[in-house]
């Protein structure tokens, strides 16, 4: 690991001020630290944001669940409020990595990192999330740009993520047997305003599968999915799963999600 300057920010303003194109925020460190140790990334400044109280916590209003950026996966998984309002979201958090990862990793870090195989991005898409930063609010559909890419500026700090409470929803994941990230993860959510099918793991970036959503809008049942063609073009292919398998698993896990709704 290369040497770096460590800062512990007392508030969001300070964190943002310290940030540059050569810095990283330290939330759970579950991505940043291993990549630094492996020499895949190096930064001049590491800005610890865990001491900023305001960034952590869960709030439920009538229509939304708002989760602070540094809230840990284990906190979301065990939150009674989340379990009641959006049980599928708590279940998603429970399925991330392993207990060690869940006890450190944060929702803000997860979506800022936008790993193509991460779980939370699919929730953001399916649950019409709004990402609140220190200077704006961003729709999930616009937030995720590409592989490990978001529309965040380097000095921008995610403060919280606000999820709409759906009428019903389910997240179903085919875990990579080695890492337990998603080979394919499908988040189906039915809102009054419409249906979303957030898909992660399958392509270079999370997306809302409009074809699946369309079919489910007409007929919310797993059999409706049978007739949808999911093309393997643009799907990831690696030693764990070919693009053809992934395309088929998008359907299979969408069906599982609908059945579990």
């Amino acid at each position: 690991m290369k040497t770096f300057n460590y800062h512990s920010a007392k508030d969001v303003k300070e964190a943002s001020k310290l940030a540059s194109s050569n810095s990283a925020f330290l939330a759970g460190g579950m991505t940043t630290i291993p990549s630094m140790k492996l020499g895949l990334a190096s930064y001049k400044d590491i800005i610890d944001i865990k001491r900023i109280k305001k960034l952590s916590g869960i709030k439920v209003s009538g229509k939304t669940v708002t989760i602070g950026a540094t809230t840990k996966h284990s906190e979301v998984a065990s939150s009674k409020d989340v379990k009641k309002a959006i049980p599928s979201l708590a279940a998603l958090a429970e399925g991330i990595g392993d207990p060690q990862v869940r006890n450190r990793g944060t929702i803000g870090g997860s979506i800022a990192n936008n790993d193509p195989a991460a779980d939370y991005p699919s929730a953001c898409i399916a649950l019409n999330a709004t990402i609140h930063t220190n200077n704006r609010s961003i729709d999930a559909e616009k937030f995720f740009r590409g592989m490990f890419e978001t529309c965040l500026k380097s000095t921008e700090v995610i403060e919280s993520i606000e999820f709409s409470i759906p009428q019903k929803s389910s997240y179903q994941k085919l875990p990579n047997p080695a890492s337990r990230y998603a080979i394919v993860g499908v988040y189906v959510a039915q809102h009054k305003t419409g249906i979303n099918v957030g898909v992660t793991g399958a392509k270079s970036c999370v997306y809302n599968d409009k074809d699946l959503a369309g079919a489910l809008t007409k007929n919310f049942s797993s059999s409706a999915i049978d007739s949808v063609k999911v093309s393997s073009s643009g799907m990831n292919s690696d030693i764990h799963a070919s693009s053809d398998y992934r395309a088929n698993m998008v359907k299979a896990f969408a069906k599982k999600a609908v059945d579990a709704c």
Partner: protein
């Protein structure tokens, strides 16, 4: 006193391991130590044109940087193959030189070329980045199937072929095949595995400039052998100036049998730089450079009669040695594999032909089971295929071909002293509720799932022996084991063993058998191992040999103690030695009913004489003290056996295989500690299941290991495994006084074919290669659906 052999004594090791108080190599720090970082080839195959260390040498904190040139100048020898195997045509095997630091060429990703020593680990790392190695990259040979038709990796080794070995009689096999009703054919792989010991390899070297002694703390399964090789072949130091200590070692599974480059280099360098050295592998280095396991391609044929009798068997295998031949590298795919390929069956004719080839991949060596899992996989898969093609129940076809009389002369080599395969399979059948399978299958089908059942019967040959035979087969050493038993004057006992525990719990098992032999409470017995300065020379632990060979050396040393004790007791009790009986720790003279405890006798042996209350006259001609040693060389291998049955449920929509039930019935002869043996079976099963469903080391065409982390190499996890249903049968080994057989590898040997047979059974006989990953199974399910639709 009740016998401890057979009881579930809690492990003496538990307190230290479960409270984090183990002392592993990387826990050892020596004042003034330097830190080593190895510079490794990023290429699978290349010539080294130039190594420029000038910039790195000036980097902060650097003590020295050494390369293959220095190794060559100091005439430090390289790593060796422990077994010389001959080809079918009588020619000797071909092995390349394997210098501890490559000088001219590198042959796998991770092959070390230089080493940096610095004051801190960070400084060593920073300097390592400044070492410039100029390579001429060559085309890598990374595909096993194509290796023999590829460019030769090593000068003078044609077709990359180490040997082309044959065991058995081709003519007899041909005759048997001519008589067959049917020939069953099978092409299978045996996937490459990375052992993944929890503790990465490490060494800490302390060179004493005054005594000129090198102490090497290392993660080894056999410190004595490491010392021997480092001294006799490496030329690092004479044995008396070299102490090798393997303290607590966190798992080996075969990967720590070998002496590795790093231990030789650091031991040699410590003397050169006159500083202690510490090296600890990073996990990536473990993936890249620990010896790997398995990696075979096999074509097998079984000749059968229509009613399911076996007539003959052919096994044609290509085995991957990786870049270099290491200690057990050449014997694993031959004598540990070939003979076992006919399984537990009467097989009138058979041969195993193995071509071992070099590739630009990490060296392949013994991995838990070593050869026997590959053999068992081959025979048990083809037996199932035969059952399916002949329409015979898998259990019935096995029963039909079991030997029922022992000793049983197995076709290719082994004279199996004892066993009862029928009893084992019957018990497994009952415990697994084999007859209830059809109903469970129906139930799965009603949920849209497929269900399969798999059966395996295995025997294995472990505790390789006797030494004269072992050496005749090509081994460079004998495979006996030693022990020394020492009574302290105040009655406690220290047992020294030449075997080594890296998870096997010798401290408990060996104390149990010594406690029974000597009648001393187990609390008063300590077992010491893993230090060449303590106790007698030993051969270490691998191949399930510790108890059957090393444990018996302890028994024999204890018997010598008792014999000497009898003479001393006789003198003390004023009787003749043959009037003295020894029982429950007491020497008793029946006619006078006078007795002395073994503690009193030990005390007397150290205080020979008569003064005040001490009255302990040593018999004439006896030396003081109560210390005895023994070297045990068994008359034969030991032959554990058993039958395993498992059931899988498959989701055809995703290909996910759920291992639903697993029953293992094993015959390990006498069981000293059921608690420990069950633990060994559990661990072995997990690894065998891992091979069947998850683990798979993969290299790409350029020879890069693409599964070099836990993000890509799938280990089995606790939640992948069902509760194991374990049972035992017992036929005692006749080749040792305890009647024990090895138990360390059985689970690994039996589990892989058991699981695959179940998966393939669920797929109506559709073959898939190892491991049965979800995607492969899903594809097979799809094809099955198609062909079922066609048939309908």
């Amino acid at each position: 006193m009740a016998s401890l052999v057979g009881s579930r004594v809690e492990r003496k090791e538990d307190k230290r391991f479960l409270t984090g108080k183990g002392r592993y190599t990387s826990d050892i720090n020596i004042a003034n130590q330097t830190y080593a970082i190895f510079i490794r080839s990023p290429h699978a195959r290349a010539k080294i044109k130039k190594i420029d260390t000038s910039k790195a040498l000036k980097s902060s904190g650097v003590v020295d940087i050494l390369t293959g040139e220095h190794i060559a100048q100091d005439k430090i020898g390289g790593l060796i193959a422990g077994w010389a195997i001959r080809s079918e045509d009588g020619s000797e095997m071909k092995c390349p030189a394997n210098p501890p630091l490559a000088k001219d060429s590198v042959n796998f990703v991770g092959d070390p070329v230089a080493v940096v020593f610095a004051e801190t680990l960070d400084e060593a790392r920073a300097a390592a980045e400044l070492v410039k190695v100029d390579y001429k990259v060559l085309k890598a040979v990374s595909n096993l199937g194509e290796a023999m038709n590829s460019e030769a990796i090593h000068d003078g080794i044609d077709k990359n072929l180490c040997y082309d070995w044959l065991l058995g009689d081709r003519q007899k096999v041909k005759e048997a095949f001519d008589k067959a009703d049917k020939i069953i054919k099978l092409d299978i792989n045996n996937n490459r595995l990375i052992p993944n010991a929890m503790e990465p390899r490490a060494c800490v070297i302390d060179y004493n400039t005054a005594s000129e002694e090198i102490t090497c703390y290392t993660t080894s399964q056999n410190p004595h052998l490491s010392r021997l090789i480092m001294s006799a072949f490496g030329g690092v130091a004479p044995e008396n100036k070299l102490r090798v200590v393997a303290p607590d070692v966190g798992g080996g599974f075969g990967s720590k049998i070998n002496l590795y480059n790093e231990e030789i280099v650091c031991s040699w360098a410590s003397k050169k730089i006159e500083r202690p050295i510490k090296w600890v592998a990073e996990r990536t280095e473990s993936f890249l450079t620990d010896t790997h396991g398995r990696d075979h391609i096999t074509h097998a044929e079984l000749a059968v009669t229509n009613d399911g009798k076996f007539l003959g068997f052919k096994n044609e295998t290509i085995a991957n040695l990786g870049a270099y031949a290491r200690v057990f590298g050449t014997v694993t795919p031959t004598y540990l594999f070939g003979p076992c390929a006919t399984g537990v069956y009467i097989m009138p004719a058979a041969y195993s032909n193995v071509k071992a080839v070099y590739t630009n991949t990490a060296p392949v060596d013994a991995y838990r089971g070593a050869g026997r899992p590959e053999a068992t996989y081959t025979i048990e898969r083809i037996v199932d295929k035969a059952a399916m093609e002949l329409g015979i129940d898998p259990i019935e076809i096995r029963m039909k071909n079991f030997p029922t009389e022992f000793p049983f002369k197995q076709t290719l080599v082994h004279q199996i002293d004892s066993g009862d395969y029928v009893a084992g399979l019957n018990k497994a059948k009952e415990m697994a509720d084999y007859d209830g399978f059809a109903a469970r299958k129906k139930e799965s089908e009603s949920k849209g799932k497929l269900r399969g059942i798999g059966v395996t019967s295995y025997f294995e040959a472990c505790g390789i022996a006797p030494s004269p035979v072992v050496m005749m087969l090509g081994c460079g050493v004998g495979l006996w084991e030693s022990a020394e038993v020492r009574f302290n004057p105040t009655g406690q006992v220290t047992v020294y063993t030449g075997s080594h525990s890296h998870g096997q719990s010798h401290q408990t098992t060996f104390a149990q058998i010594a406690a029974d032999e000597l009648g001393v409470p187990i609390e008063n017995i300590d077992v010491v191992h893993g230090d060449t300065d303590k106790g007698t020379f030993g051969m270490g632990t691998y191949g399930s040999r510790s108890l059957t060979v090393g444990g018996i050396a302890i028994v024999n040393a204890c018997k010598k103690i008792v014999n000497k004790g009898k003479k001393i007791a006789a003198k003390m009790l004023e009787a003749s030695p043959d009037e003295v009986d020894f029982k429950n720790g007491e020497f008793v003279v029946a006619k006078s009913n006078k007795k002395k405890t073994i503690g009193e006798v030990a005390f007397a042996s150290y205080l020979p004489g008569v003064r005040d209350e001490v009255k302990s006259p040593l018999p004439e001609g006896e030396e003081p003290g109560l210390i005895e040693s023994s070297f045990f060389d068994p008359a034969n291998f030991s032959f554990p056996a058993g039958s395993h049955i498992c059931e899988v449920e498959i989701d055809p929509e995703t290909g996910h295989v759920k291992l639903d039930k697993y029953t293992a019935v094993d015959d390990f002869g006498t069981i000293v500690n059921p608690l420990i043996v069950e633990g060994q079976v559990h661990g072995g099963l997990a690894q065998g299941i891992g091979q069947a469903l998850y683990e798979n080391a993969q290299y790409d065409d350029s020879g890069q290991l693409i599964t070099a982390s836990y993000m890509d190499y799938t280990m089995p996890r606790a939640d992948d495994l069902p509760d194991f249903n374990l049972g035992f049968t017992c036929t005692k080994a006749t080749t040792n006084p305890l009647g024990v057989k090895g138990c360390g590898e059985a689970g690994t040997i039996a589990a892989t074919p058991t699981v695959m047979n179940a998966v393939i059974n669920a797929l109506d006989g559709k073959e898939i290669s190892l491991p049965a990953t979800a995607e492969k199974v899903w594809k097979a399910c799809k094809e099955m659906k198609k062909s079922n639709a066609k048939a309908a």
